[in-house]
Amino acid sequence: MKFALKILKDFPAYLWSGWGAVASILLFIAFWDAGNQVYGDLVLPSPLETFKTLSVMLSDESVITEIKTTLYRASIGFGLSLVLGTSLGLLAGFFATASMMSRPIVTILVGMPPIAWIVLAMIWFGMGDETVIFTVIVASFPIVFVGALQGTRTLDGELKEMAKSFKFPWHMKFFDVYFPHIFSYVFPAWVSGLGMAWKIVIMAELLATSNGIGASLAVARSQLDTPTALAIVVIMIGSLMFIEYIILEPIKREVELWRD
């Protein structure tokens, strides 16, 4: 609670520090506009046209439905990865054998290209929610898993000994010694897992479903509707940036104040 308040209190200062980011986004839009003047509307519609299309789309009920569909798939997939990845990662981390055995599996999961998973999932689950959700899980689970595993594996033996010498009860061992350390590994893993989930959900939808914003992107491509395609890209990137910079980063800052 105290923590949440502190995050809110520091939020304006954090936003203020974001001027550099805003400037770089504006610069990017300027280049984009220049690109439009060189290559023409069909190849690269102007930022203005894109944002107009975007605002039309966002007031369209059916587009909102597509976004909701995608959000639903991404959150189910990411939510499952988060819960499974964190709990299994912690479990594996506490046992040396388990962490050794899990390594090759993680390598396979990380090394296999997502597109191959999509193809397999299409064969196994057909065209629909399951395929997308499965692919999202397969892509983001290993990231979360590895984060939790490393957090647990790198627990400091000297601090454990210190806790033992002061006879910490179990809840203090957990909340004051283990948790902050593990969390400092798990939280960044959640953030990258989320980014991964969001990218993969669009890709899987594009290839394997007839709804969701990924599918809308496929439709826009087949109709050579570049403004809509770009507007969808803006939605994807905009939402990711919102989650990352407005929600996650301020939390991360407070959580990791103690770090160098």
Partner: protein
């Protein structure tokens, strides 16, 4: 009567014998030092006495009502500020949070930390300050027995003196018993009632020295004089490999 009794203690890591046939008794109110070269098994011995490690052979009987440990390194929780770090032991002992914080602040000031340091995380502290915090964390519990593992070795002379003075004050009031581990002979002479000399490979006790002059009456001259006396001893020269080659 509270005491710590070590009998016929042996310890090995794998096939390497680290400690061999260690025997001593630490009585309440006493300061017992174990002096020996680095790698001689001193930390291992202390961990066995403090029940941080399982005894393999022999016995350790500790009847002190309370004890705490100051490690060779500060071992602070990096995600807790100074005061929270100090209060950890109190909280573990069941103190209410408010009381623990209050006690911790009091002792922090006594150990030369300043109010503006209270909220700092260990990453923003100098080595000496970390060691003060570690010391405060151990002493705020008012332990009956204190385990000290070369806590002064990384400190500059001034701070070393300062912390030693606090200890000597507590020793004179008979508030505390100390099992003190060091490779610094003069430090041991300043603080101890009894010094055991631990020789390495495997660690065994070769000599015993006792001092009756109360600690607060020992001045530099006394420490130098006693050191000089001890350093003439063949056994010491051997143990510390001081012989001129």
């Amino acid at each position: 009567m509270e005491r710590l009794e070590v009998k016929n203690l042996n310890h090995s890591f794998g096939f390497t014998k680290i400690l061999q046939n260690i025997n001593f008794t630490l009585q309440k109110g006493e300061v017992l030092s174990i002096v020996g070269p680095s790698g001689g098994g001193k930390t291992t011995l202390l961990h066995l006495c403090a029940d941080l490690m399982d005894v393999q052979e022999g016995s350790v009987t500790n009847s002190f009502v309370s004890s705490s440990f100051a490690f060779q390194e500060a071992r602070l929780l990096p995600w807790k500020n100074v005061i929270d770090n100090i209060s950890m032991g109190l909280l573990a002992a069941g103190y209410r949070r408010r009381d623990a914080i209050e006690e911790s602040k009091k002792i922090a000031l006594r150990f030369g930390l300043e109010e503006r340091d209270f909220e700092k995380f260990p990453k923003d502290l100098s080595g000496g300050m970390k060691q003060r915090v570690s010391f405060a964390r151990a002493l705020v519990l008012k332990p009956s027995l204190l385990f000290l593992d070369e806590p002064f070795s990384a400190l500059d002379i001034g701070l070393k003196k300062e912390l030693q003075t606090i200890l000597i004050d507590m020793i004179s009031k008979k508030e505390i018993s100390i099992l003190f581990i060091t490779h610094d002979l003069m430090e041991a002479i300043r603080l101890s009632d009894e010094i055991l000399l631990l020789k390495a490979d495997p660690g065994h006790i070769v000599k015993k020295f006792s001092y009756t002059l109360p600690q607060h009456e020992r001045d530099d001259a006394f420490v130098y004089e006693q050191s000089a006396k001890i350093l003439q001893d063949e056994e010491i020269i051997d143990t510390f490999e001081l012989r001129m080659k």
